[in-house]
């Protein structure tokens, strides 16, 4: 599904990703953990196509294609979805309109007919119920005046409607209470399947109680310094990120 080789990226003069390699196979859920400033969000944004980051080296292949060559909308239409760490408020554009435009752009790409208003409406209503999203929020401007939790839930709702092949969740769990966390986790777990893959970027192990990853990677100063199974997340939670720092210092 996704193969990243020695990916390097910088913003301004500051190099943030210093050679990341990662392979995510179809059907897998990967967790990327790391302390603040380790480059987790940068990795997510680079994969989604944010141009404030300049890729300086390495490659990323998505479904056999050069991901880094693709415009952000192209990535989205090919099934890549990123749930934003800080979802943007967009006055005057309703979530419904955004989703319909996005969904139909992807369908068009795949040679499918556009969804008509009725089919679209029943799809979003169904998905909204699953993520316990108030329908009135969908008709409002994207994220405008939403609470932090509502914004995160809106990301998961959009993910549920767009049904991506590769979902990247950028700290979707931060700032959520336990109920919201469960809803987010349910949304992600429902998406899990043999032909999809999910990358969960998180600072805390907590979310991984609900979304059990196949692989856990520790990102530190722009590099993946440790990878392991789901136990690694628990170990990190137990010992803290200083454990990694100390280990690296000793090495």
């Amino acid at each position: 599904m996704l193969e990243i080789k020695n990916l390097r990226a910088k913003v301004g003069d500051r190099e943030i990703l210093k050679g990341i390699s990662l392979t995510v196979k179809t059907g897998e859920v990967h967790a990327i953990m790391g302390p603040n400033g380790s480059g987790k969000s940068t990795l997510a944004q680079v994969l989604a196509g944010r141009d404030t980051y300049e890729v300086t080296g390495g490659e990323a292949t998505y479904q056999g294609k050069d991901l880094l060559e693709m415009a952000p909308e192209e990535r989205a239409r090919q099934g890549l979805f990123m749930a934003f760490q800080y979802p943007v408020e967009i006055p005057g554009v309703s979530t419904m309109y955004l989703l319909r435009a996005g969904l139909n752009a992807a369908r068009k790409q795949q040679g499918l007919e556009e969804l008509d208003a009725m089919d679209f409406l029943s799809l979003v209503k169904e998905q909204a119920k699953l993520v316990e999203m108030d329908e009135s929020l969908m008709n409002r401007s994207v994220n405008e005046g939403f609470s932090g939790g509502e914004k995160k839930r809106n990301e998961i709702f959009q993910m549920a409607v767009l049904q991506p092949k590769l979902a990247i969740l950028d700290e979707t769990d931060s700032g959520l209470d336990i109920d919201a966390l469960r809803i987010v986790a349910n949304g992600v777990n429902r998406l899990r399947g043999p032909d999809r893959a999910i990358i969960v970027v998180t600072h805390y192990q907590r979310l991984l109680n609900y979304i059990v990853p196949d692989r856990v990677h520790v990102l530190y100063e722009g590099r993946i310094v440790k990878s392991g199974g789901k136990e690694l997340a628990l170990e990190l939670e137990d010992k803290g990120y200083s454990w990694i720092e100390e280990k690296l210092a000793r090495a």
Binding site: P72, A76, R77, V88, I90, G92, Y97, A101, F120, S141
Partner: protein, 444 residues
């Protein structure tokens, strides 16, 4: 011959013809106005009120008074192409400034309501005009108002007796059609809403060709106690046209007045909106939207004069500027000493879509009362890159995402327009005006 001389000689030329017609009080007003125009001359950039708007192109063009006859033969169908839905309601059409009865339609109105051309009203109802016509729009300090007053000939007259409510909006459609040499028209409208009456009036300025011409319009609105008047103006002139207009509203106790001004066309545009809240408890709303592209210049000057206590004004103007266009917003609010408990809010937001687009925004608050609430704010910005990326990350193409954000910015104001066909028509028009068309956002 100087620029002023040309217009004055036009006055003299017409004086021998129709301009001398009409009641004596009007002849006096016209003569006083042309005299004042002679003294004032065209404003220059040294004039504080005109420092961002150079009217030299108007002053140096030898415009001649147009007449409606040259475009007779124009069909309703042709007109429908440049209007939206207005034609289904009561509408008065003016061709190059002159009333065109064959293209106009009056639906039944309540007893006593008058909707007619000003030229006809000057003959049939001069006594109703006299107390108001040219009594509100002052030409002492405004050369273009003076010029318009000197050439008062035609336009619309709307009169609502006490407590009469018009359910349907009245549409005034001013059509300019190319006609050989550059033409000028001076539409003059008067809307008198007596106490407790209610009406919505829409002025549309459209063009049937891409020629250079000059529209110099003045509209006076008089709202009696508790009257409710919604005024919409859609300026869709040719992009070679010059458009200067003044809307002057005089509001009595507890009246409600809303002005919605949308400027899309014109090479050089100047809109003055002057509101006098001359009694207690008046409520007024001034909304404006200007979309300028290419080398268009659109200047909006507003003046809200809070003269009495407990008045409220809400002003919200937005501009979208691309290409090398230039936008100007100058919003003056005066709160006189007597006008305690005034509540005034002014906002001006501008979206610049290119490096070369330019906007000058200037709030002017003159507050002489001490117990008031007045706020103002102005912003100038570009499209939000974070929002653009967000939309693209959901699959929207770059241009579609840009259009959507611009549309969202502008439609905020369009959605406030109370006249449905105008609102819907503008929504559609906005789609075609934006860089890339997006499917109409009907339904969801």
């Amino acid at each position: 011959m100087t620029a002023t001389d040309h217009f004055i000689s036009e006055f003299t030329r017409l004086g021998r013809e129709s301009a001398a017609a009409g009641p004596a009080w009007l002849r006096l007003a016209r003569e006083a106005a042309v005299e004042r125009f002679r003294e004032l001359g065209f404003p220059t950039l040294d004039d504080e009120e005109w420092k961002y708007t150079n009217v030299a192109p108007i002053a140096r063009t030898p415009f001649r008074i147009g007449n409606g006859f040259a475009v007779r033969g124009l069909t309703v169908e042709e007109l429908q192409r440049v209007t939206f839905g207005e034609m289904d309601c009561t509408h008065l059409v003016f061709l190059n400034g002159r009333f065109a009865p064959e293209l106009s339609r009056l639906r039944p109105v309540p007893d006593g309501v008058r909707i007619m051309s000003l030229a006809a009203a000057l003959v049939e109802e001069p006594d109703r005009l006299e107390p108001h016509l040219s009594r509100h729009a002052q030409f002492e300090d405004h050369a273009f108002v003076a010029l318009n007053t000197a050439f008062i000939q035609d336009g619309a007259f709307v009169y609502l007796p006490r407590r009469k409510v018009l359910e349907e909006p009245i549409h005034l459609i001013f059509v300019s059609a190319p006609n050989g040499s550059p033409r000028v028209s001076h539409p003059r409208n008067l809307i008198v809403a007596e106490a407790g009456s209610q009406a919505a009036v829409v002025e549309s300025y459209v063009s049937l060709g891409e020629a250079a011409y000059f529209t110099n319009a003045v509209t006076e609105v008089v709202a009696g106690d508790g009257a409710v008047v919604d005024h919409c103006k859609l300026q869709r002139e040719s992009e070679q046209a010059y458009h200067v207009a003044t809307l002057q509203a005089h509001l009595s106790r507890s009246a409600h007045f809303a002005s919605h001004s949308v400027s899309l066309g014109g090479a050089l545009v100047r809109n003055d909106v002057n509101i006098v809240l001359d009694a207690e408890g008046v409520d007024c709303v001034l909304n404006g939207l200007y979309l300028a592209q290419g080398s268009q210049h659109i200047d909006n000057h507003t003046f809200i004069d809070h003269a009495r206590p407990h008045g409220s004004s809400r002003e919200f103007y937005k501009g979208v500027l691309s290409g090398r266009s230039h936008g100007v917003f100058n919003g003056k609010i005066r709160v006189r000493k007597d006008a305690q408990k005034t509540d005034a809010k002014q906002t001006n937001k501008n979206l610049l879509l290119s490096e070369e687009a330019l906007v000058d925004t200037k709030p002017q608050l003159e507050i002489f009362a001490d117990d008031v609430r007045c706020t103002h704010g102005a912003t100038i910005g570009q499209l939000d890159e974070d929002a653009l990326f967000y939309l693209r990350s959901r699959g929207l193409g770059r241009e579609d995402a840009r259009s959507l954000l611009i549309h969202a910015f502008a439609s905020d104001l369009i959605s406030r327009i109370p006249v449905v066909p105008v609102r819907t028509g503008l929504e559609c028009l906005l789609m075609t005006r934006l860089p890339v068309g997006i499917e109409h956002r009907e339904g969801i």
